[in-house]
C-alpha cells in the first residue's frame, strides 16, 4: 500500500480552506505550514494566459531525502499493517517511511528538533516547531509536517484538508490499488513535481489542463537537492559512527576515558 494524494487543479479554486483546516487540526504555528496554497499567475504560457495554484504538502516520497539525515538515536520499531494486522520490525531514527502505508512519519517524542530533515526536503515540506521540545533529550524543537492525517485515516476519516475541500479537488487514497480514484488519476496523467535533479518519487500529485500544469511545473518544481547545513549534516554524518559506538559497547569506554581525564586534571 502507498497512500497518495491528488490535487485536481481543474477543480481547485484556491480558497485556502485546506490550509486553515490543517492549522486547526494540528495546531500548526501561525507562521509555519504543513500545507500551503500559492497563487500562480496570471502569466503567459505557451498554451495561453494561465492562472492556477500550487497547493503543496509533504510528498511522502518513495525515496525520502529527509529520512536518512535524521541524527536521532536508532531504535527498533515494530510497524503494524492497519488492514491485515501483519507486523514488521525495522531500525529507525526519529523519522521513517512506514513499510505498510508508505507514509513518512516523525516520532515526536524522540525528535531533537535539529532541523536536518527540514533542510533536506527539496519541497520545503517540513518545519521545526520551537514552541515544543523534548527537553530531557536536549531537543531544540520538534519537526513537523503533513502526516496525510494517518491517525484520522485509521479511524475511517479523511485527512482534514480533504474533508473540508469544497471543490473536491483533493483526492486521497492508495496508489497501489488500481481501482482507487487516485490510481485512476495517475493513469490519466497526474504528475508529481520532479526534475532531473529531484526525482525521489513524490506521492502527492497534480492533475490539470495543459496551461495550468505548465504554469505549475515551471514555477514550482524544485530543480536541485538542498544541501544540509554544516552542523546538521555533521550530526547526521556522525550518526553511523554513534551506532558503531553503541554496537560495540564502546560508549562505556568513552565515558571512562572522560572520567579518568577529569581525575587526572584534579591530580595536577
Amino acid at each position: 500500500m502507498q497512500y497518495g494524494m491528488i490535487i485536481d487543479l481543474n477543480r481547485c479554486v484556491g480558497c485556502h480552506a485546506c490550509t486553515i483546516a490543517c492549522k486547526a487540526e494540528w495546531d500548526v504555528p501561525v507562521d509555519k505550514e504543513r500545507n500551503w496554497v500559492r497563487r500562480l499567475g496570471p502569466a503567459n504560457t505557451p498554451e495561453g494566459l494561465a492562472s492556477t495554484y500550487y497547493p503543496g504538502l509533504c510528498n511522502h516520497c518513495n525515496e525520502p531525502s529527509c529520512v536518512p539525515v535524521c541524527p536521532a538515536d536508532v531504535i527498533e520499531k515494530t510497524f503494524t499493517d492497519s488492514k491485515t494486522g501483519q507486523t514488521k520490525s525495522m531500525e529507525v531514527a526519529a523519522t521513517y517511511k512506514d513499510p505498510f502505508n508508505g507514509t513518512v512519519q516523525i516520532d515526536k517524542d524522540r525528535c531533537l528538533g535539529c532541523g536536518a530533515c527540514a533542510d533536506a526536503c527539496p519541497y520545503g515540506a517540513r518545519y521545526v516547531n520551537t514552541d515544543i521540545k523534548n527537553e530531557e533529550i536536549g531537543g531544540e524543537g520538534i519537526a513537523d509536517k503533513c502526516t496525510y492525517c494517518v491517525t484520522r485515516v485509521e479511524k475511517g476519516l479523511e485527512p482534514a484538508c480533504v474533508q473540508t475541500c469544497l471543490a473536491n479537488a483533493r483526492i486521497f487514497g492508495d496508489l497501489d490499488d488500481p481501482n482507487s480514484e487516485v490510481a485512476k488519476y495517475v493513469k490519466k496523467g497526474a504528475k508529481g513535481l520532479t526534475s532531473p535533479a529531484v526525482n525521489i518519487g513524490p506521492n502527492s500529485r497534480y492533475y490539470g489542463n495543459k496551461k495550468d500544469m505548465y504554469l505549475l511545473t515551471t514555477t514550482s518544481t524544485p530543480t536541485e537537492m538542498p544541501s544540509a547545513s554544516l552542523r546538521r549534516s555533521l550530526m547526521a554524518r556522525l550518526k553511523p559512527e554513534m551506532r558503531k559506538v553503541k554496537n560495540f559497547g564502546l560508549l562505556g569506554l568513552a565515558g571512562a576515558v572522560l572520567v579518568s581525564g577529569l581525575t587526572e586534571d584534579k591530580k595536577e
Partner: protein, 744 residues
C-alpha cells in the same frame, strides 16, 4: 527600581507575615477557584463533537459542528448532516476559532472618556453602559424626535435591534450596508423585472452555459454556491466571464471577455439585440411571460455589435461568439444576477439587463436557469409596530428621489441630513455590527456626520474602525457563543433528491467575559427608553424556540437531530403561469427613469490616473476578518494588480512597495505591493477589498495592506435606488514618496 530586601529576608523578618499587614482584610472573600475532583489528563485529550453551529464568518451561513476539548473549541468542521455545505467549510469558516479567541476582541463595555476618533477607553459596568445608552438616546428622541436617531446595522444580530429602532422607536433612518453598498440594487432591479428578488438563484450545477459578469468565484467563496458552479463546470457547462481582470473564474473560462470597466451594460445590450435581431431568443417564453417586448426591442435596437465593441473595447466577434454560445445553450443558461453590484452609479440599469437577458433566453424555471429553491418558511418573532408618525419623516419620500430604493433609507440622505441639519437634525447614532468607515465611500463625510452627533453607541465583536467613534462600545457574543438566526434552504443541487432543511444557530461554547447577545442588550436599552412593555421575548433561546414552534420543532428536538432538521422538499423547477417579466417597465417610465435597460457612460479617468476596481479575497469577508491571525497569515496584503506592459513603462517591478493617491488627493495611509501581470487591462488596477484597517486596536490587521475604501471618495449614486457606486475613483501609484503618472 532596586530590590532592597530579598524575598527570603522579607519573609524571615518577624514584622511581616500576615500579622502587621492586614492583607486578608483587603482582598475579596471570593476567589476564582473551587475544589474540583481530580480528572485524569487522559480524558482531556479527547474532544466532544457539539452540533448546531451556523457560521457567520460571512453571511452564507454554512452549518457547523465544533470539536470541543474541555470547554475549549479546538476545531470547526462542516456538519456532516448538512445538505448545503456538507462536510466542507471555507478558509474563513475554519478560522472561526481565531475570531473566538482573538485577544483584541471586545470583552467588556467600554466608555470613551477621550475624543471621538481618538478614544480613551474605560471599562464600565453593563449597568452604567446601558443607563448611558438609554438616557442619551431618550434625550435625542425627546429633543429631535425619533427621526433624530440613525442606525447602521449589519448581520444576523442586528435584525432585532433594527426592528426595535424602526418599529418601536420609529426612525426610518436605517441604512444597511448589505443593501446600499452591496446587493440592494440587484434585488430592486429584479423586483422591477421579475417581481422578486433573485438572491443568487441560478442553477449553475445543471447549466449548459454559465455567464458571469464580474463574479469571481474562487476569490469570492460561498461554499454551496461554489459547489454549484464547479458541478456545472464538471458537467461541461461553457463558462463565459466578463471581467477586466483574469480572475479566478476567468482562469477557468471558455471565453474571457476582457471588458473595459463600466461598459457591461453596453455589452449586454448588444448581446440581447443580436439575439432579437437574429431571432435567437425564446419566442415562446417571451410571448407567454414578457411585457413590453416591442418597446424593449426598439429601445435596444441601436446596440449593434460594432457599437458595443467600440464602447467595451472588445472585438465585435467576441460579443457575437458569446451571444451564439448563450443561444446554443438556451434555455439552460445561468445568467448570474451578481452579488456585490454597487459599482458605477448606473447599476440598476445593468442588473435589469441581466434579468431581461435571462428572460430572452427563456432561462427561468428550467434546468440550469434562474431557479429558486423551495425551502421552508420559518416565521420570525420580533417587535410589534407601535411607532406613530408614519412616513412623515421619511427622508427618501421627502426628497422624492430613489423610487426603487431597497428597504431603509439611502445612506447619502442620512449623512447629508446629519451634516446640514436639513430637513431635520440627526443627533443619535446606533452602529450594530456594521463598519461604516470601511463600507461607505468618502470616509471624511462619515467622520463629519459622526462628529456632530450628541451620542453614538456601537455594538460589535471586534474593535473595527467605526468603534473609535463610539461614546459607548458594547461587546457582543459572537456566532459561536449564542443562539440566533434560523438558516433554512434546500439541497444545493436541484437535481438531487428534493429536501428542505432547518438549522437554527446554537452555541458551540458559552460566551466568555461580559459579552452579551442582541436580545439582552436591546431589551435593556428598550426598558431604559420606556418601551419595556413592548418587549416580545426575553432571551434568544426563547425567541428561537418560539420561532421553531411555528414549524413544529424545538431546540430540544434540533439537538436530537444533530442541529439540522431535514424533511422532504418540493421540485423547484417550472414557471408559474402568472410569472411576468417587465422587459419594458411602465412604472419606471412614469418616474422618469429609463424603462428599457440603458447604457449610461460614466466618467473616464483623468490623464495620468487609472480606474481602481476591487473585489474579494477568499480568506476575508469585507474588512471583518483582517485581524484573524490565520487568515491574515494566509494572505497578509492585498497586492495591486498592474498590467505588465504598463508596469514596464513605469519601471515598476513585481513586489515593489507602493501607496496610492486618488484624483481628489486622498492618499492611502498604508502600503501594499505591486503584482505585475498580463491578467489585467491597461486602463485598470485592482485590489482585494477590506485591507488596511486604521483602528490600531487591531494588532494583526492594523495597516496590513492598503484600504481601497479610503480611496473611494467620489460618490456615484444610482438614481433609481440611491445606492453608492464605488468604482468611479481614479488613482496614481506613489512609490518612494513620488506620485507616478500612469501611461494610457
Amino acid at each position: 527600581m532596586s530590590f532592597k530586601v530579598t524575598r527570603r529576608k522579607f519573609l524571615q523578618t518577624a514584622s511581616i507575615a500576615a500579622a502587621t499587614l492586614p492583607l486578608a482584610k483587603v482582598v475579596s472573600a471570593e476567589t476564582g477557584f473551587v475544589r474540583d475532583p481530580f480528572t485524569p489528563p487522559g480524558s482531556l485529550e479527547g474532544t466532544q463533537t457539539v452540533t448546531g453551529g451556523v457560521c457567520e464568518m460571512c453571511f452564507w451561513r454554512c452549518q457547523l459542528v465544533g470539536k470541543v476539548r474541555d470547554k475549549k473549541l479546538v476545531k470547526l468542521e462542516g456538519n456532516p448532516k448538512s445538505i448545503d455545505n456538507g462536510k466542507s467549510i471555507c478558509a474563513r469558516g475554519n478560522a472561526g476559532i481565531k475570531l473566538l479567541y482573538d485577544p483584541d476582541r471586545l470583552k467588556f463595555p467600554l466608555k470613551n472618556v477621550g475624543e471621538r476618533g481618538k478614544p480613551v477607553w474605560k471599562q464600565i459596568s453593563w449597568q452604567e453602559a446601558l443607563d448611558e445608552c438609554g438616557s442619551k438616546l431618550k434625550a435625542v428622541q425627546d429633543k429631535y424626535g425619533s427621526q433624530g436617531i440613525a442606525m447602521f446595522p449589519h448581520g444576523a444580530s442586528a435584525k432585532y435591534p433594527m426592528d426595535f429602532f424602526e418599529k418601536v422607536v420609529g426612525t426610518h433612518n436605517v441604512s444597511e450596508a448589505s443593501f446600499f453598498q452591496c446587493r440592494g440594487i440587484r434585488d430592486m432591479a429584479y423586483m422591477a423585472t421579475f417581481g422578486l428578488a433573485p438572491d443568487e438563484n441560478v442553477d449553475m450545477a445543471n447549466a449548459k452555459a454559465i455567464f458571469l459578469i464580474g463574479c469571481h468565484f474562487g476569490e469570492n467563496v460561498h461554499v454551496s454556491h461554489v459547489k454549484k458552479y464547479l458541478k456545472g463546470l464538471e458537467n461541461g457547462a461553457k463558462l463565459i466571464v466578463v471581467d477586466p481582470r483574469y480572475s479566478a473564474s476567468a482562469a477557468k473560462s471558455d471565453i474571457w471577455v476582457k471588458i473595459k470597466p463600466a461598459t457591461d451594460t453596453a455589452f449586454l445590450l448588444a448581446v440581447m439585440n443580436y439575439l432579437v435581431q437574429k431571432d435567437k431568443y425564446d419566442k415562446k417564453f417571451v410571448e407567454a411571460h414578457c411585457v413590453g417586448f416591442e418597446e424593449f426591442k426598439k429601445g435596444i435596437s441601436h446596440a449593434s455589435l460594432d457599437w458595443a465593441a467600440k464602447i467595451c473595447d472588445v472585438p465585435a466577434k467576441q460579443i457575437q461568439e458569446v451571444a451564439e454560445v448563450l443561444a446554443a445553450s438556451a434555455p439552460n443558461v445561468s445568467v448570474h444576477p451578481g452579488r456585490h453590484v454597487s459599482w458605477y452609479g448606473t447599476d440598476f440599469q445593468r442588473i435589469r439587463a441581466h434579468a431581461c437577458l435571462t428572460a430572452l433566453l427563456g432561462a427561468i424555471g428550467v434546468k440550469g436557469g434562474f431557479v429558486k429553491g423551495k425551502g421552508v418558511k420559518v416565521k420570525g418573532i420580533t417587535w410589534p409596530t407601535v411607532a406613530e408618525g408614519g412616513e412623515e419623516h421619511n427622508l427618501r419620500l421627502m426628497a422624492d428621489k430613489y423610487h426603487y430604493a431597497p428597504p431603509g433609507t439611502p445612506t447619502e440622505l442620512i449623512r447629508d441630513a446629519c451634516i446640514t441639519g436639513k430637513p431635520y437634525p440627526i443627533k443619535g447614532c446606533v452602529v450594530w455590527g456594521q463598519n461604516p468607515m470601511q463600507t461607505i465611500p468618502n470616509q471624511q463625510k462619515m467622520v463629519d456626520a459622526l462628529k456632530q452627533m450628541d451620542f453614538i453607541m456601537c455594538v460589535d465583536v471586534m474593535p473595527t474602525d467605526i468603534t473609535m467613534y463610539a461614546d459607548i462600545l458594547l461587546p457582543e457574543a459572537c456566532y459561536l457563543e449564542r443562539y440566533d438566526f434560523i438558516k433554512t434552504g434546500t439541497q444545493w443541487n436541484f437535481t438531487d433528491k428534493q429536501q428542505q432543511y432547518i438549522a437554527p444557530r446554537m452555541p458551540l461554547v458559552d460566551a466568555m467575559f461580559e459579552r452579551k447577545d442582541e436580545i439582552w442588550i436591546t431589551n435593556e436599552i428598550a426598558k431604559r427608553m420606556g418601551y419595556g412593555d413592548k418587549i416580545p421575548v426575553n432571551s434568544l433561546e426563547e425567541k428561537i424556540n418560539k420561532e421553531l414552534a411555528g414549524v413544529n420543532l424545538s431546540i430540544e428536538q434540533l439537538k436530537k437531530e444533530d442541529g439540522i432538521h431535514i424533511q422532504d422538499g418540493k421540485d423547484p423547477y417550472g414557471v408559474p403561469e402568472d410569472f411576468e417579466v417587465q422587459l419594458y417597465n411602465e412604472d419606471l417610465a412614469d418616474k422618469g427613469y429609463p424603462a428599457v435597460p440603458t447604457y449610461i457612460a460614466v466618467e473616464e479617468a483623468p490623464k495620468g490616473f487609472t480606474r481602481l476596481v476591487y473585489g474579494r479575497s477568499p480568506v476575508h469577508t469585507f474588512n471583518r476578518t483582517q485581524n484573524n491571525v490565520w487568515l491574515h497569515n494566509a494572505m497578509p496584503v492585498n497586492p495591486l494588480w498592474l498590467n505588465d506592459e504598463i508596469a514596464m513603462k513605469m519601471g515598476l517591478k513585481d513586489g515593489d512597495e507602493i501607496e496610492l493617491v486618488n484624483s481628489e488627493g486622498v492618499k492611502s495611509s498604508s502600503k501594499t505591493v505591486i503584482k505585475v501581470t498580463p491578467g489585467i487591462r491597461k486602463d485598470t488596477v485592482y485590489m482585494a477589498h477590506g485591507y488596511g484597517s486604521k483602528n490600531p486596536l487591531l494588532t494583526v490587521g492594523f495597516h496590513a495592506g492598503a484600504d481601497d475604501q479610503q480611496l473611494i471618495t467620489k460618490l456615484a449614486i444610482d438614481p433609481e435606488t440611491g445606492c453608492n457606486g464605488m468604482r468611479n475613483n481614479f488613482v496614481k501609484i506613489v512609490k518612494d514618496g513620488k506620485s507616478l503618472d500612469i501611461p494610457a
